[in-house]
Symmetry: C3
């Protein structure tokens, strides 16, 4: 089931990247590239920094095909997809929860410290969007006054390591932590929670 | 002969990077750095993502010296080089064909899937320019409405893998595919072929 | 003592990154991230390019904690820190000298050519700021008409390798070269030395 959610997340990230690129008036190669980096950029950065190379999408092509699908869907139906913002937002939020846990899992496998694992989870979930924004020549939306995004990943990561001390089944902890991230993100958007900006 | 073409391509990329940086009014260190990343940025990204480290230019300093030469030529003769745009464009196009094949070869050596090899070839040839544009704070020209650039690399890569099935001598296939990229690129510029932009 | 200077440099880089991000009106997560990449971005790039992974800060968390301290100090006292520009500049300059030598040392351990070692030293000291500026959507200040910054690192690196031929004690050479970088940087700022820009 986790794998199915991974696919949903990748597809949502790819489509959101493609739609951003289309709105930026990039050509089809630009749209494909931005869809690609939005979907796998965070995980790629994580793999490069931890030395897990060749990076994930080079060895298992599943995400490549899902991104190509997302790219084709976006190129054909971008006007309609714009109107499905709510569904896309839900898929994106699922991706946020799942990718955070995938990043944490990779960190644990590499034997890294919990603080680094939480950073890797957040990076996996959030930094594809950062690379997308850099390529589109904008200050990453992640760093600006927005509803909680990276914050919910960090929070979910901390909860994961707190639950892990209880000795509960690890699969349950992964499921619970990603569910918590998803719920927290939905609440944050609904109630417009955001981090403060110091200088106004 | 392939190696001689590699040198021509590296020199052309370094000079094109240096001229861009000079036009952006960067200082000499900025010009050197941009020349450097334009020439070896694509190959460096490929090496990092595939885990071939230390990256190429750290082990074989040939490209470092060629880039330093291109930097000195640019710093001394930038006004005249601006007028040699046509020659530089030809050298750049040779680099495009050669670097694509070098990237594909590295992918094959690493045992990666043809789809990934084509991506690595395109990355090697095109992503130095992407990093150059990011450092110069512009949306990468590669993603905008331009004549075919990355597209000819992808096309050449597909032709390479089609020819490879015929059992022809591999060196001939490399030469034919890079020649095809060069010709296709020249035609694309002459006849102003480009990829569509969806939103106008 | 070298380690104490390393801490001072990391703290200064983190605070300078945080203050930049606060002035750019980023939210707290943005401030934390920019503080982080400013402090460890150069060393991280060096580790990734040389294949020393997982990168340094994932294995030894000292710099993570120092950056968190710098982040907290900046978030609480940013108005006052702005007025301590001179002290911060001194700390930053110490970081410049120390980080250059750390980068050169890593290159030597990896058995790389002196030219590459000098590049790695300069990268370690200067490229955190480059990544900071890219994330803040500005042309890196390092590439613009500034007082010598990267130039003093390159100069210090060349002096290091010249002294190394004399057979002097290596610790003395490290100390002398980093001291030279610090002094040269202070003089460059005082007397407004900078590299030329070709096009005016």
């Amino acid at each position: 089931m986790f794998h199915a959610l991974d696919i949903i997340g990748t597809l949502a990230f790819a489509i959101s990247g493609a739609l951003t690129a289309i709105n930026k008036k990039l050509d089809l190669f630009g749209v494909l590239t931005i869809a690609f980096v939005t979907a796998v950029g965070g995980g790629t950065l994580r793999d490069v920094l931890t030395g897990s190379t060749p990076v994930g999408w080079m060895l298992n092509l599943d995400s490549v095909y899902i991104i190509l699908l997302g790219f084709c869907l976006s190129a054909l139906f971008w006007r309609r997809l714009e109107k499905l913002r709510v569904s896309l937002f839900l898929f994106d939020t699922i991706g946020l929860g799942v990718f955070t846990m995938i990043g944490i899992e990779k960190g644990l496998i590499a034997g890294l410290h919990p603080v680094i694992c939480v950073a890797l989870g957040t990076m996996t979930a959030c930094f594809g969007g950062v690379i997308r924004d850099i390529l589109c020549n904008e200050i990453p939306v992640l760093f600006r006054k927005e509803t909680f995004y990276a914050t919910v990943c960090i929070f979910g990561g901390i909860v994961f390591f707190a639950l892990r001390r209880t000795g509960l089944n690890i699969d349950i902890i992964y499921a619970a932590s990603s569910a918590l991230i998803i719920i927290f993100r939905l609440l944050a958007v609904k109630f417009k929670w955001y981090l403060p900006v110091l200088k106004v």
